[in-house]
């Protein structure tokens, strides 16, 4: 009897160990030479990590591919400053709230892509700064995090 219990516990532990890699598997996509992974995604925040970079592709390109694969939904319109994101995962921008883009990418080739003086966001152990550009102006730089957050205007 005692032996059977240990067998059941052992089989359960083995099953959990086998399922662990599957649970850790996050949605990812290839965009040109870049590879991105969704770290988290809900109605108020989407965090994307660039596993392999391609500076000719933008965060907008990544969102488009991820939407095509059914991993998220987004909408918006073209503006003078590029694509202006107005909805993400079903949450629409309002007069009080907008979708703010944060990134760990500070500068690249003498171009400033974000600044802590615009605003910051803490995510896990990293600090992301509010981006200088919208989703179509941010290149997919390797190792960088991009967070799109439902943010109160003038918060």
């Amino acid at each position: 009897m005692k032996g059977n219990i240990w067998k059941i516990i052992g089989a359960g532990a083995a099953a959990l160990l086998c399922m662990a890699p599957l649970a850790a598997c996050r949605p990812s996509a290839d965009i040109g030479n870049a590879r991105v992974e969704i770290r988290s995604s809900d109605e108020t925040c989407v965090v994307i990590e660039v596993l392999a970079g391609d500076n000719t592709k933008s965060l907008y390109d990544a969102l488009s591919v991820l939407q095509k694969d059914g991993n998220l939904t987004f909408g918006g319109s073209e503006s003078q400053y590029g694509f202006y994101l107005t909805s993400l995962n079903g949450t629409e921008a309002t007069d009080e709230y907008y979708w703010a883009v944060y990134t760990t990418l500070e500068s690249l080739d003498e171009t400033v892509y974000s600044s802590a003086s615009f605003g910051t966001l803490e995510y896990e152990d990293k600090t992301l700064a509010l981006a200088s550009y919208g989703v179509s102006g941010l290149p997919l730089a390797e190792g960088e995090l991009y967070a799109i957050v439902w943010t109160e205007i003038d918060a």
Partner: protein, 238 residues
Amino acid sequence: MCAVLLVAQFVLSFVPGVELVTALLLAFCYLFGIRCGMLTATAFSLLRCFIFGFYPNVIVLYLVYFNAFALFFGWLGGRGRPIAAWVCPVLLAVLAGGAAAAAIAGLPVSALYVPRLKGAAWALFFVMCALLVLYFVLLAGRQKGVLRQGMEAAALASLAALFTVCFTLLDDVITPLFYGYTRDAALGYFYAGFLAMLPQTVSAAVSVFVLFPVLARIFGGARKSPPSNVGRMDKDMV
């Protein structure tokens, strides 16, 4: 007039880089003078907040810019003499030179926006050059009334282009000061501003050159006719 400006800005806000507020307000200030122009500019700057939102830095920017705009073009229209012949070529040459420099040397904006920025800079360069050539053609035959109107429109278009550049430059000062940006952040904001400034400058120059003669005729007619309520009052008194 304020309602017309609000409608024009709201409708064209869906079309990136195209704006008619400059052409409409310029013609209005030029023909109705400083007082009417500044009243309209102030009302427009405040009422547009109900559509586009209340942002203190934007309110300050609009109040300062459009009142300065009304003051200048109201004064210009009230002088009763044409703009000096050298003003237009000098402004157009400076703006064309600046646009060419931005297109050739490049600006430190997002690498993904460089082709768009260069395209806009070259567009501005060619529009300024075209206006310059046109101005010299008009200058050669300025004795005819129609050509004089064309020269006036070209000179005002060059001034409108300069003012549009100043609008973005003023924003580059007010917004970083208001939000306390660091030097690097303010520089990043300055360079990103070119993405909006270049198409807007092209739009302002072209719309003023094309629409000013038409708007001058419309506003000129409206200025000469007496207000309708005055007629009714006179009739009632009889």
